[in-house]
Symmetry: none
Subunit: 409 residues, 2 copies
């Protein structure tokens, strides 16, 4: 059993508007073990709503609509559902009386517009609205149901939980569980090649996403109950972790900085940094973690070349011989940060973030990241294109991952 | 001319996931005078995507798809569009060569999966991707166009602006105009009280939003043509600017850092900083601006107290007498950054970002920001509550605004 969720209301299509009702319903369906195949937000236009509802009914057992059930002229959901079902719209006198009584109880007069709320497509049942005047509508289908709920969030949520969820729970054979594995230091295609044969494991689904130098694997598992779904999800995550090993840095919402923080705390170690092209972004990522003062000493933003020498002690000859964007300079920055800030580990970043400054030798996207410790340290070179923001974020991911791997070594 | 926007990717249907690409495209279409009739988010299932795309093509002149163009198996947009158009999917050898060359230039080997990115439905043109390997696809139609763009936000945005927007602008008889005024240093309620009587001006709409220490006024104007809409929008913006004066730092997408950058370039002046609680976030905001090396010298991340002394020269006695979170220390950090990094201006930030570390005297949210120049400098104290991220972002806004006001003095 799968679902389509449609939010109705022209205001949802304005710039900067988010469909929070749809997001909420998708979360609730997921908890009931029902996957959403697609969701839509659509303006108050009856024929258009009807076309989308028809496509939804064709595509999914469960179709949930929210919005467009109010008394005003731009509320067109009743009419649209009637069109989609090819059923006449009929007024229910009992509901019309109820609406009049509801208004009278509040000392108000229900007019012809309120009476429209007593219209429903022939064959649909009412869904009681404990919080307002607009009732919802329900149609039981062999394969699921079609429900129309108001758009006011509190009403929509109360009505879904009281009148729609129980029917869905009874029908849904099963539950869903989900987890996300987070991977750093490997390209998306490497991860996919390594894991492809696990993608189709029974009762599970895997989606892979790349972002700013890290890769996310979203694992969804179905089961006859929550425990089975959870067990399948964990078994798949375990199989993937076994192949990926140290490349997995965390799960679900864990950020790389939080993982690094935990490792530093466990070791009682501190870190400092010297940043050039990232200009503070690495420091910002580390100090975003609450309690970072326990392990973050500080850093040097050596944007101008002379500050690389005066602040971090990068030898002038080295800058001349190799250029500011080079492995020796990244290593010297890391070592300088470590020593000047008296930390156990130092991180250094230098690169060409663009849009200007690239050369044939060192195009935009060339970044050297280094780690300094009591021994020989480590260094990585990045050379993948992108815009300034992406190159900088990727450099931060790689620097954090370099430290993470060192702390696990 | 109206539009349908479809975001593709199973991850968009997970609980708690927001369709930010769709929201962005709707905003851009609006700016071009094109209203969106509906939008959808759909999983990576080719027949289902094809059904939704077919409904979209039936319903709207402009159909924009984003996502599902990557090299992996769950990227099904190419196939789905071919199905929807009833056109064969054909491989373009020229594009396949280009992808191989792109990978080779980065020392990597493009495999058969990468080659899938050279497949397109017969009759569609390519949309160049300046930031990645996945090209987009375009079909011009009598009534508009169908475009498929990648799901990576930076790529999608760059490609829409460069290759799709111009064609839409030429077709649209735009009747909407929008501008945003950006205000720093004033609370939302102050701005609203000052401007309320201008909110209902004919043919316009004003929305006020507060975020991280700045306030945004979004002005929308309608007109019979683009010129009239633009004129109305500008007249309203002008009336608001006249009242707000120097509190308006910029318009539309201008960030405070970009405005500060422009002022520094105009003066031929440089800046350096010393950050404690923001830990690099101020440096990251400044160096986010392309070309920042012309005026950003560098900085000191003095997270640990002893580094405030050893790096920025804050006297030990001062730290003991006033505490690290105090106006004298903020001023000493700013002066230290200015002198150690040889800059014309220095900025210093010290505060309690929380969640721990607050006291009765200096609760979480207490932040001192200072500016050092050749004269007496300036200082500001913030004491608004908030979570760690908000307090840090607000401190950055206030520091940038302090410098902006000084540069305008």
């Amino acid at each position: 059993m799968n679902a389509v969720v449609v939010a109705i209301g022209s205001e949802l299509l304005g710039p900067g508007r988010r469909d929070t009702n749809g997001e909420w319903l998708i979360g609730r369906l997921f908890d009931l073990g029902i996957e959403t195949s697609w969701r839509a937000a659509i303006g108050d236009d009856a024929p258009r709503i009807a076309r989308v509802v028809r496509a939804a009914l064709h595509d999914a057992g469960v179709v949930l609509l929210t919005g467009g059930l109010g008394p005003t002229e731009d509320d067109r959901t009743r009419e649209a559902v009637a069109l989609a079902l090819d059923a006449p719209l009929t007024r229910d006198p009992a509901m019309a009386d109820r609406i009049v009584a509801l208004f009278a109880a509040r000392g108000r007069l229900a007019g012809p517009r309120q009476a429209r709320q007593a219209d429903r497509p022939y064959g649909m049942a009412w869904i009681d609205n404990p919080l307002g005047s607009a009732p919802g509508m329900l149609l039981e289908r062999d394969s699921g149901l079609l429900a129309a709920l108001p758009g006011i969030p509190a009403e929509m949520r109360a009505m879904f939980d009281a009148s729609v969820a129980p029917g869905l729970a009874a029908r849904s054979r099963g539950a869903l569980a989900r987890t996300t594995l987070r991977i750093a230091g490997r390209p998306e295609s490497f991860v996919e090649d390594l894991l492809r044969d696990l993608y189709d494991r029974e009762g599970t689904e895997t989606t892979i996403l790349a972002s700013s130098g890290s890769v996310e694997l979203v694992l969804t598992a179905r089961g006859t109950d929550a425990a089975e779904a959870r067990a399948r999800c964990e078994a798949l995550a375990g199989a993937m972790r076994a192949r990926l090993g140290i490349d997995v840095y965390g799960a679900d919402d864990e950020s790389l900085a939080v993982v690094v923080s935990r490792l530093l705390v466990a070791r009682g170690a501190t870190v400092a940094l010297a940043e050039s092209c990232t200009g503070g972004l690495l420091g910002a990522a580390l100090t975003d973690v609450p309690g970072s003062s326990a392990w973050f000493r500080g850093g040097l933003l050596c944007y101008a070349n002379d500050l690389k020498t005066s602040l971090a002690g990068v030898p002038d000859e080295m800058l001349r011989a190799h250029g500011a964007v080079s492995e020796p300079v990244a290593r010297a920055l890391a070592a300088g940060a470590r020593s000047v800030c008296s930390a156990d580990f130092g991180l250094g970043v230098t690169g060409v973030a663009g849009p200007a400054g690239g050369t044939a030798d060192k195009p935009v996207g060339t970044v050297h990241v280094a780690l300094a410790d009591a021994g020989e340290g480590r260094a990585v070179r990045l050379d993948w294109p992108g815009d300034r923001a992406l190159i900088r974020r990727r450099a931060v991911t790689v620097a954090l991952d370099l430290l993470r791997r060192r702390l696990l070594a």
